[in-house]
């Protein structure tokens, strides 16, 4: 009423003052998305509760609550846009990377995977032998999963008490709900699938290897239906913090610095544990001559490869773009469509095809040129070959980019320089190229960073070959990344800690090179802007 009196007739009212309005579609989709988030959180919570993962549950609840708050409050607008990507980034990149980086300060790897207690158990169970008077059990092999692949369990029956227990690498556990036949063997047990003779004999190697730790030693199989409890030949002695051989009396003392039991003669037991080793992985890269030599050689070739690949593709792509950048060239569209085809082919497959084209005996290249070169046999030819392959894979991208950049340069500029009497080459060098570089330098830097760590380019072609006779771990075409991969996952035993240290070096090198180049780019842009 008051409003009408003061403001006059309602028909003359001005439209509502501009305040952020919400569309119906926006509101509905927001409600749906938030509802979906809560639904996913509830779905994810059940397994966590079932497995009593309280920390995980707390993190889940906190994240969900934070998300709800973030999208319901009108504040923190930038965060609304950054949250989805950031959460995924933290979960699947930052967290694994930090974890890997932290292993660089440990001796994590084959023989150094678990804790000291686990190492002691492993040493004791590995040394178990059958001695006169060992307890004998009737045994049935079972699994908690698929008969072909599931984790194995020994169901053993105590001959005296008739008590049935299930044993795996973690130890023995008494079972109640079982069916036992006259001979004392288990024929069925709740929660376990009993393997029949055929299934068990297929996995006999695993059955022989399985040792169930017990206080005095371990239970091992003898055949597929009997087991014995053997005595450990080596036992841990807390008073001297050492492992003692019960028959010879030899001792191996724990060395907390290297995470292993070391004997008086310097002999180490194979089963060690994971310890923090400080910077020794890093100093090993720099000082150990057996490591530092290959490292420096690989680093130099790595730079050569990245520069040659980036520079080569750039020069070829630019030359091509220049050549086709003229309305007088007929069939330009056809040229362009065909020339970018290598970019559309799946690169992993084409790398394998190139590998076979370089094959000495029936490769296409030797066939075409009538030569008989063992391309991947010599350092120089192998290096030339991988760079050539990279040139083929990479030039179409540079061609596309350079074509676009050329089209963006105003034609008047080059015409003006021609009128001023500059030659075609002079005009290109003084006018076109600097302008192109402003646009293309950031792409060249990221191309360099990509090629510096171009794992597939080597792993799918030469696999690092040729290898020198004295060092089968480091080949002539190895990049740091393939070299590291071989150390981490290769046949010579995994050394994750050491590999992580090298990957931190790689990271630092690429980051420094990129940072310097980006600084120089900004400089360029200021000059030409």
């Amino acid at each position: 009423m008051t409003a009408t009196m003061l403001g006059g007739p309602a028909t003359q009212a001005r439209p509502a003052p501009p305040e952020p309005t919400r569309s119906i579609v926006g509101l509905v989709s927001k409600a749906l998305l938030l509802g979906l988030t809560v639904a996913i959180a509830i779905w994810a919570a059940f397994p966590l509760i079932e497995n009593e993962q309280w920390t995980g549950l707390a993190v889940l609840a906190a994240t969900t609550a934070a998300l709800l708050y973030l999208y319901l409050t009108p504040r923190h607008i930038p965060l609304k846009y950054l949250a989805p990507g950031t959460i995924l980034l933290i979960l699947f990149q930052v967290f694994p990377v930090l974890y890997t980086a932290s292993t660089a300060f440990t001796n994590f790897g084959d023989g150094h995977r678990g804790s000291k207690d686990e190492a002691v158990v492993a040493i004791q169970t590995a040394s178990v032998t059958q001695v006169p008077g060992s307890q004998q059990y009737a045994m049935t092999v079972a699994t908690t999963g698929d008969p072909g692949t599931g984790p194995l369990v020994f169901l053993v029956t105590d001959p005296v008490t008739r008590q049935v227990s299930a044993g795996d690498a973690d130890g023995l556990k008494a079972l109640d709900d079982v069916t036992v036949n006259a001979a004392g063997r288990v024929t069925a047990a709740a929660g376990y699938t009993v393997l029949n003779a055929g299934q068990a004999s297929l996995r006999s190697a695993e059955i022989t290897a399985l040792a169930v730790p017990t206080p005095g030693g371990a239970i091992r199989s003898s055949g597929l239906s009997r087991a014995y409890e053997g005595r450990a030949g080596r036992a841990y002695d807390e008073s001297c913090d050492c492992v003692r051989d019960t028959t010879t009396g030899q001792t191996w003392t724990a060395d907390e610095n290297i995470g292993a039991f070391v004997g008086a003669n310097g002999e180490r037991l194979a089963q060690g544990w994971k310890v923090t080793v400080g910077f020794s992985n890093f100093t090993r890269v720099l000082t150990d001559s057996a490591v530092a030599g290959p490292f420096v050689r690989t680093l130099i070739w790595n730079f050569g490869f990245a520069i040659a690949s980036t520079g080569g593709t750039f020069v070829l792509g630019l030359l091509l773009a220049m050549a086709l950048h003229s309305p007088r060239v007929r069939g330009r569209t056809a040229y362009r469509v065909l020339l970018v085809l290598p970019y559309a082919m799946p690169s992993f497959a084409m790398l394998l095809v190139w590998r076979d084209m370089f094959n000495t005996d029936f490769g296409l290249i030797n066939n075409l040129f009538g030569t008989d070169v063992d391309w991947f046999g010599g350092s120089a030819s192998a290096r030339l070959a991988v760079i050539l392959v990279q040139l083929w894979l990479g030039y179409p991208y540079m061609f596309l980019v350079a074509t676009g950049a050329l089209q963006a340069i105003p034609r008047e500029l080059s015409e003006a320089s021609r009128i001023d009497g500059a030659s075609a080459w002079g005009g290109f060098r003084r006018i076109t190229l600097p302008l192109l570089m402003v646009a293309l330098t950031p792409l060249l830097i990221s191309s360099f960073a990509f090629n510096f760590n171009n794992f597939n380019a080597i792993y799918l072609t030469t696999e690092g070959a040729p290898f020198p006779a004295d060092n089968p771990a480091n080949g002539a075409t190895d990049l740091l990344i393939t070299y590291t991969y071989r150390i981490a996952f290769g046949g010579g035993g995994a050394q994750y800690g050491y590999a992580a240290a090298i990957s931190i070096f790689i990271f630092l090198i690429v980051a420094v090179v990129s940072a310097i180049s980006f600084r120089r780019t900004r400089h360029l842009e200021e000059v030409h802007a």
Partner: protein, 280 residues
């Protein structure tokens, strides 16, 4: 003579590079059509025309399944990653907030760590995930897509931010004055304008994902869940000579979706690649 100087050399360069570009592709064609299907009998010029390799590929291997898995994984993860990246690029370009510079730099820095060396950590993480939530664990497309999306904020965010920067700020300011919320500014006004760069990043992400081999190889071990790279690599890992024809047939078929996406997005491509690059 003048023609040679002005136009002739252009054709010369074009034809030479074209020969270099086409030789491996023609070779793959011939090998795929080669009735014998072995590497040693494959020549540059087709020695016969038979679709035996193609039919063997579908009959004897799980190629159809690999193909479908790859398309699903590459489409979903590239679409999602472009969207996530665009959201972040908008915040970095249009909003001023604390930690903006640090955020931009760390996005770039994290990408420089060779991620697949974190594969041990990824393996351990997903072993736990598989126990708790099998639906996103090993051998599932959804788990692999999530893992790939971890890299959604990256170089592409920079590329897009550069493109957003080129759009005049007056656009969003006038829309805000007219009463549009920040979400409306983003979805209704800016997103349609950055379509070229969305196309480019989508293409780059698609090509990157459909070619990804290393992580997929660790992640997908089940025969039914394999992607094209994992499956095709398995074809020539053991039987390099005998399966070469099938492998080449598979390679050609793998190229089809990429070429289609490329054609679909082509009118944006050159535009987007350079415009984004100028401001990198």
């Amino acid at each position: 003579m003048r023609w040679i100087q002005q136009v002739g050399w252009r054709h010369l360069v074009g034809v030479l590079v074209l020969a270099f570009a086409m030789v491996p592709i023609v070779f793959v064609f011939s090998a795929a059509l080669n009735p014998l299907g072995t590497l040693s009998s494959s020549e540059l010029v087709p020695t016969g025309a038979s679709f035996g390799n193609f039919s063997r590929l579908f009959a004897d291997t799980g190629f159809g399944g690999w193909f479908l898995n790859s398309i699903v994984i590459a489409s979903v993860s590239s679409a999602a990653s472009v969207f996530i990246s665009a959201l972040a690029a908008y915040a970095f370009s249009r909003r001023r907030f604390r930690g903006r510079r640090v955020g931009l730099l760390s996005v770039l820095l994290i990408q420089m760590f060779p991620q697949f060396l974190a594969i041990v950590a990824i393996f351990l993480i997903f072993s736990t995930v598989t126990d708790l939530w099998p639906a996103i664990g090993f051998n599932t497309s959804s788990g692999l897509i999530l893992l790939y999306l971890g890299g959604a904020l990256g170089v592409n965010t920079w590329l897009m931010k550069g493109f957003f920067d080129t759009l005049p700020r007056e656009l969003d300011e006038s829309a805000t004055v007219d009463g549009a919320s920040h979400a409306q500014v983003f979805f209704r006004i800016l997103l349609p304008l950055v379509a070229p760069i969305l196309a480019v990043t989508a293409l780059l992400a698609f090509i990157g994902t459909i070619n990804e081999f290393l992580i997929a190889n660790v992640f997908l071990t089940d025969a039914g869940s394999k992607t094209l790279p994992v499956g095709l690599y398995g074809l020539v890992a053991g039987e390099r000579n005998a399966n070469f024809g099938m492998f080449c047939a598979g390679t050609l078929l793998t190229a089809i979706p990429t070429v289609l996406v490329f054609q679909l997005l082509q009118r944006y491509i050159t535009d987007g690649l350079t415009a984004g690059a100028v401001k990198g």
